[in-house]
Amino acid sequence: MRRLVQGNEACAHAAIKAGLSFFAGYPITPSSEIAEVISRYLPFKGGIFMQMEDEIASINAIIGAALAGARVMTATSGPGFSLMQEGIGYAVMVEAPIVLVNIQRGGPSTGLPTEVSQGDLMQSRWGSHGDFLSIVLSPSSVQEMYELTYEAFNLAERFRAPVVVLSDEVVGHLREGVDFENVSLPPIIERLKPEVPPGNYYPFEPSFNGVSPLPEYGTGYRFHVTGLFHNYKGFPTSDQKEISSLMDRLQNKIKNHIKEFFKFEEYQTKDADILFVSYGITTRSALEAVNILRRQGIKAGNLKLITLNPLDEEAISDILKNREMIFVPELNMGQLILDIKRLGCKDRVCAINRYDGDILTPQQLVDEVLKRIQAGVEVK
């Protein structure tokens, strides 16, 4: 049955559909509905919902539950996401499969609690200290929120790594018609279980494409995890070879498979002279802007990035090639554009930014493009 669903509600239902068994969170606008909906259903499905004392407790509790064997998630927004950064690095290091949802609001600091922003893109990629890699997904509709939250669990379990669903206030609070029963979803991916007896199992041995199985607690496999650099047995090490091979493996176990999960959508790009590169709610305006521009005889197109980290640089570069102008509309002061400039022809890439709590409208994007065309492609 098709019905009106809010983005945050879709996120909560997707998590439950994906097999969520433990959720820990802390109230924060504009993500609270996710916790509210989960608290309403999860306890009746054999799962546990906990409202923790803060966001730091939330991320650490889901890490503990994940290591013990649960499928886990937390949801938050900017200030809470900042508090969770140390935990994200820890999850990377102990290879705990966790899903984090960040419904972006205006920042820095307390910022604009009830209004939209895309200001946490860089934070979601680089926010924790040290070099690390987390997967970041960005939905631009309520249905996509449902699909990507579900997929985030599969990616987290497959790679034993944190996955961030980076949404925003508008998608989170948007209501659109969705028929949950008729959304086609891939099968649930369970985490790898060891094929060797307990004595021969090591928690950080790169058994399958760089990922080690993660046995459930209480099944005979006892292991140690630490946030310190560690060897394949999980015990702290300062051996330089062991350190660099761990660092390489944590990146490569994901990067080497980027083609298998990297997602993007092209709209009217084939002959496009003008290309938008957009993500999240901004995509919705960009798609409409493409239609308006086409009606005026301007060959415009849109590249929508769904996976925001890691980036399939090869695929993106290919699409950026041979365009007259590339526009990167973002609800921040220019974050994704840094990558697009790096991957495309630098002097043809223009930013369209807004950071006052509202979205970029299709007309604004159209006006910006026309202005540039009239100015004679003097872009910087």
């Binding site: 820990a24 923790m52 509790a61 503990g64 607690y217 099944t219 006892r222 015990f235």
Partner: protein
Amino acid sequence: MNIKEYLRTEFFPNVWCAGCGNGIVLRATLEAIKSLEITKDEIAMVSGIGCSSRATGYVDFHTIHSLHGRAIPVAVGVRAVKPNMKVLVMTGDGDCSSIGGNHLIHAARRNIDLTVIVFNNNIYGMTGGQVSPTTPYASRTTTTPSGNPEKSFDICSLVMGAGATYVARGTVFHVHQLIKLIKEAINHKGFSLIDVVTPCPVYYGRMNRYEDGITMMEEIKEKTITVEKARSMSEKDLEGKTVVGLLKKEEKDEFLQTYLSFYNTKKEAKSDTAV
């Protein structure tokens, strides 16, 4: 079972200094587990950061060396999804009452079935001897070189106030009592905490002119007063003394059991109702 069977001896030698009491706390914990005949598979042990928190690496349970201050929330996550396991937290005075203070009081408030063992050496040892929330007034540390001007925490009073249902204090000198207290704490249904007084001769000792670990152990012995004896003593007489023994034991509903039975009596909302 031999106590050695609980140890991951391949990871020895351990990081603890000569004269440190941490090994005694760990041994007492293992003796308690041994006498309770709990299998290794039934135990999860979580620690934070600090000298004490290295304990989890050396024992053959499900072990997590977590972030500084965060052992309790990690343990809460384990406990929530593994209701039949015994979950122990190995932590230090700074780890649990300073950076992790918020988690400590809320786990106590919820009466979550965890056993928290605090290696209380009154100092930050791992980072080189800085002042901690339990450093006594006027004691010298590397960040209070003229003596500590602040008041210190009594971790037991703190968690008793927050709602913990089993609270005790022991010392590394009174090992048999310590084993008994840890045993009771593990058996207790609900949040239990043992504050264990243990010496740090290398930092606290040197800064406060103790000759060695043995001198510190002797002082622990001298300062100790039993709970029973303390009852008839005035506040003034108790100044500078360490009251050891069982401080609080209460039977109350434990978090997870209450949670599960609570939802058994409720009805699920219809899934098509709007938010």
